[in-house]
Amino acid sequence: MQTTIQLTVNNTPCEATVDTRTLLVDFLRDQLDLTGTHLGCATGNCGACTVVLDGLTVKACTILAADVTGSAVTTIEGWTQDTRQSGDLHPIQAAFVKHHALQCGFCTPGMVLSVQQLLQEKPHPTEADIRHGIAGNLCRCTGYASIIKAVQEIARGSGD
């Protein structure tokens, strides 16, 4: 069954025809070529497919593209659009690089989006807050300690 959907993806309105069985993650990757959103488990466990849907992080493998017609989606590409254009790294990216908070990088796009959501809600998170905030993102290289260090540095650097 095919259906037409309208979404705003990375601030750009788009209309597309999708099979109703298409997951949001598949739509982003296969139809829009936004391959920064990764598909890991397809069971809502790993968080590699994390995107921002209407302002909140969600796992795009647990959502039908056709069910979120009318919504706004931000992927890792959209979120880094501004800094990429100016050739800079976003402070979260820079801190991840500095603290070696990624090894294979598979979890990184989802991890970064979860960190930005955490810092948006809690600019000065405790270590417990950070662990709580990234609980939905698995890093199979188990680089959690470095990720937490990176987030702590961003939190320290964000004023007051």
């Binding site: 069985r21 069910d67 609980a135």
Partner: protein
Amino acid sequence: MIRAPFQLHRPHSIDAAVRLLSQCVQNGEDAKLLAGGQSLLPSLNLGLIAPAHIISLNHVAGLDAIRRDGDMLAIGAGTTHHALAESEVVQAHCPILSETAACIGDVQVRNRGTVGGAIGHFDPAADYPPVLVLLGAACQIVSPHGERTVAAHDVFVDYMTTSLSADEVLTEIRVPALSPDTGTAYVKFTRVEGGFAIVGVGACLRLNPDRTCRSIRVGICGAAPVPVRLTAIEDTLTGTVVNDAFVEAVAAAAYESAHDPVAELHADADYKREMVRVFTRRAVRTALERAD
């Protein structure tokens, strides 16, 4: 892409959703209601289920409303765990429900998953059922035959089985607004953060001015395939002094109530029974600390 084909319906009203569901049932076709989809989509992705129809409730306006209605709170079935955890009215009048919502799954799951979906799916390790049972919550259910209100206690009937008929839709959950002097706590035991509860215990405790127990309510998941409430010991202990012996009496009753724990990879039945005792103790102690 999900392998098995299905027809997706996106009704804009509960009436339309009920009509669609009823048609599917009458035609003998398997239909599933989609709310947050945090259990449904993984099940579809894994090929565990292959319904002919999926009826999304995500386009029904107002299904996520939370409002105070006299001495009750009315919570729309489409309310996300995140919205429930952050709701000021719920935090003020039924903090055990906010605390429960805040410990479900992880951030992304809470942002999408709904209270109605969790009740309908009824995983035996789900966090809401024991809390709703201890609160004496009521579920508002709509079908082509009209509307009915069912006590949470009567909704959860067996392992992953609710008393909702195939043509019924859960629309609202009603919980009592608790007196501000009620101490409440929901504690859960998981192997890792975000994991399903091996054991989860909710407790509500009110004290008399002389520090004796005015009322206590305890609900447990993990002790049996359905939530367990400790009605007998709740009655026995009302009016008695709240001290260590009181806490131990509740914990002992909880242990006795855990007659049929669902054994799992990380916890066999005996271990679960012991954890029911430990976490009941913690829930009651925390509720006591918060009661004044």
